[in-house]
């Protein structure tokens, strides 16, 4: 009797939420082993090398705060971009982990070049998660603002702030006012070149 009452109170829309890709990614992050985390951090640092004032991905939480929320859990009913289903992703990762962690910089680059050619789907997942994760981390947003003139106002999430005060308006630019349209009564047959 008690369980029936509990069931009756449950909002069916919870099931819809669980079956959807919601902002923020997985409500329960995927769990990675220390070795998997180390390998992914090493991969991310090769994909986006630090320098010019930009931090390495491994120091801004790309793996620990982003990959784990955007790898699709094995139990999820769907599979969303970048379509890195947990079991297959971990299996592919485990195959490269040991040689990758053993290699020096040049060796790691060579292994990633081979991976890009031979396993483009898996490589694409690694790149998408690294790029999307890195360029959404607060420490990187700060670096963008400080280092790139074109990013001086960039604050990442569009809201709540927006850019109303810094978006250029029309000011002195006015349209030339040239052009015309055909009135309904003036529409006639037009034969274009090559048209019988």
């Amino acid at each position: 009797m008690r369980s029936e009452n509990v069931a009756a109170l449950r909002d069916p829309r919870e099931a819809f939420r669980a079956a959807s890709a919601e902002p923020g990614g997985n409500r329960v992050p995927v769990v990675l082993t220390d070795t998997q985390r180390a390998a992914l951090n090493a991969v991310a640092d090769e994909l986006i090398p630090p320098g010019g004032g930009f931090p390495p991905p491994s120091e801004v939480g790309v793996v620990d705060d982003f990959f784990v929320r955007y790898i699709t859990p094995a139990s999820a009913p769907g599979n969303w971009f970048p379509f890195a289903r947990e079991d297959e992703f971990k299996a592919a990762l485990d195959r490269i982990t040991e040689p990758f962690l053993r290699a020096d910089h040049d060796g790691r680059v060579a292994q990633l070049e081979a991976l890009e050619k031979e396993q483009p789907e898996f490589f694409g997942q690694l790149r998408a998660l690294t790029y999307a994760g890195y360029y959404s981390r607060p420490a990187v947003l700060l670096a963008l603002r400080q280092l790139l003139p074109a990013a001086r106002d960039y604050h990442g999430p569009p809201l709540p702030y927006g850019y109303d005060l810094t978006t250029p308006d029309w000011d002195e630019i006015t349209p030339p006012g040239a052009g015309s349209y055909t009135e309904t009564s003036d529409v006639v047959r037009i034969n274009v070149k090559g048209m019988s």
Partner: protein, 550 residues
């Protein structure tokens, strides 16, 4: 088992621009309206704008393509194109760009002008639709600048045009240097507050909707007033079939997705407004005794003449900062220099050139709209720094021919979460579309050079096209032989079944369709309102000349 039903004066299926406009207009007049929507409301907290991860969400829960989104309220679509749609209260307007172009008078007379492919004249003229454009514009709240000589006059807009940002200013100057027409674009984006909706604050993420209500999506532009009028909007109500008996629609059976129970709603009038793919899908799903090939489909036209527009994109990068992450993502400025059919061309129809914003840093690294991702490794930093904040995109939107072989059918092999068949799309660009898009691509390159771009990525004619627009699949017409409905959106087969959405459009013009979808819906509602009693007794749908005068 179907639950005992309810009754209503008018049953509307779909809550997007068409369904919302009709529900509001009819309920303004005291008509009892029930609207069925298979999705739910999008709450402001469900938009991605406040999240650090807002950009990856564009490819996931806020993907345009339901096949990528895979939400329980969506239905699968197989075939060559990936339509951009959303199945929630407000429909696909919840994440449209808000570009708000009217058709031009000539767009209603393309049958007279060339008649190529399956092109026919609309059964109405621009002048007949103009008053309803005005009404719909006022309801939605359109920003812009009147006086464009490429159009008939239209009323003052609700606020000035959206800010162009550096990108819009750059393209306006480039087009002007080429001697081309350009004009600040009308947008369904508030630059002045309206009701409880805020003015746009140039956040730059309109294509993922707008939690401020600045974007004129139907859920904020129409539904609050429609609900105050008493419209019975039923969410999570997925229509399984429209019912008919003795030559008249009697209502619809829907599945309550929250409980799985089936319900029937009986209605005097049924209005189908489920979109350019959803509407033919529902009509085909509603095959029944007396209608073996689907409702309103005795002539086999349902689903045919699908148009998506034809497209070519130019991503451009400049040496100086553009800051394209600022400002409305949608088109701030456009050129219609090559809009009209030109006897000197080797194709009929024409195109509009538009601009878009650039989104943020992650989107830039991933290649922006059409380019490949920035390189990884040693070259990454230089490429990213060169690209981010230096980008403008312009694209051509061409008027593709309505041909019968471009069509929507059912795919019984693909099921939605209620077990109903998905839709399938066959679509090919015609030789005319390709010639048009190649011409437009050459003009995109000229404009990029005139703008001073130092790097470009030009797609050329895109096939399959990005199916942002779904039009023509249940088109209006002058006779039962060339169309699915008459001039008042009234199906030829069932006088009390109306169709009012993107599927109604006879031609696609070279402009975004939502403005015209809304205007047609308002006009359709006005007809139903004015002639409700006559519609209830009609046994045959009249052609325009024989129909009651609106």
């Amino acid at each position: 088992m179907t639950q005992p039903g309810s009754t209503t004066d008018v049953l509307v299926i779909g809550s997007g621009m068409g369904g919302a406009a009709i529900s509001k207009r009819l309920s303004d007049a005291g008509i009892k309206v029930t609207c069925l929507e298979q999705g739910d409301w999008v709450h402001p907290t469900q938009f991605p704008h406040f999240h650090n991860e807002w950009e990856i969400e564009k490819y996931r829960g806020w993907a345009f393509d339901p096949n990528l989104r895979q939400a329980p309220e969506d239905y699968p679509i197989t075939g060559v194109t990936s339509p951009r749609m959303m199945n929630v209260v407000g429909g696909s307007t919840v994440h449209y760009a808000g570009h708000w172009f009217r058709y031009k008078p000539v767009d209603f007379r393309k049958g007279t002008e060339h008649g190529m492919g399956g092109t026919i004249d609309w059964p109405i003229s621009y002048e007949e639709l103009a008053p309803y454009y005005d009404i719909n514009d006022a309801e939605v709240g359109i920003s812009g600048l009147v006086g464009d000589p490429m159009y008939p006059k239209r009323p003052e807009r609700h606020g000035p045009p959206v800010k162009p940002g550096n990108g819009g200013r750059r393209m306006a100057r480039a087009w002007e240097s080429l001697g081309w027409h350009w004009w600040p674009t009308d947008n369904a984006i508030l630059t002045r507050g309206k009701d409880s909706r805020f003015a746009c604050n140039s956040c730059g993420n309109c294509l993922s909707g707008c939690p401020r209500g600045s974007l004129g999506s139907a859920d904020v532009a129409y539904w609050p007033a429609a609900l105050r009028n008493g419209v019975d909007l039923r969410t999570n109500a997925r229509v399984e079939s429209i019912q008919a008996r003795n030559g008249r629609a009697t209502g619809a059976v829907y599945i309550d997705r929250l409980t799985g129970a089936r319900h029937e709603v009986a209605a005097d009038v049924v209005v189908l407004a489920a979109g350019g793919v959803g509407t033919p899908r529902l009509l085909l799903m509603s095959a029944q005794k007396g209608h073996p090939d689907g409702l309103a489909n005795a002539n086999g036209i349902v689903g045919t003449h699908l148009m998506h527009h034809c497209w070519s994109f130019a991503d451009m990068w400049f040496e100086d900062p553009i800051e394209g992450y600022k400002g409305a993502i949608g088109c701030s400025v456009h050129s219609q220099q090559f809009y009209d059919t030109d006897p000197g061309h080797d194709f009929v129809n024409g195109m509009t050139f538009l601009t878009l914003g650039s989104f943020g840093a992650a989107y830039s690294a991933m290649g922006t709209h059409t380019a490949p991702p920035d390189p990884w490794g040693a070259g990454h930093r230089e490429a990213f720094n060169r690209h981010f904040g230096h980008h403008v995109v312009s694209f051509m939107q061409g008027d593709d021919l309505p041909v019968p072989t471009n069509r929507v059918t059912l795919d019984p092999g693909a099921k939605d979460s209620s077990g109903l068949p998905g839709a399938h799309i066959d679509y090919s660009l015609s030789p005319n579309d390709i010639a048009l898009a190649e011409f437009g691509t050459a003009r995109l390159r000229e404009a990029a050079a005139a703008a001073g771009a130092v790097e470009t990525h030009v797609t050329g004619p895109m096939h399959p096209p990005p199916a942002w627009h779904m039009m023509g699949s249940c088109r209006m017409g002058s006779t039962p032989e060339n169309s699915v409905t008459n001039a008042y959106n009234q199906s030829w087969e069932l006088p009390n079944l109306f169709i009012a959405d993107g599927s109604s459009l006879v031609t696609g013009a070279a402009v975004n369709p939502t403005c015209t979808i809304g205007a047609l819906a308002v006009r359709c509602a006005e007809y139903i309102k004015t002639h409700h009693r006559e519609i209830l007794t009609q046994t045959k749908t009249p052609a325009k000349d024989a129909a009651p005068v609106l």
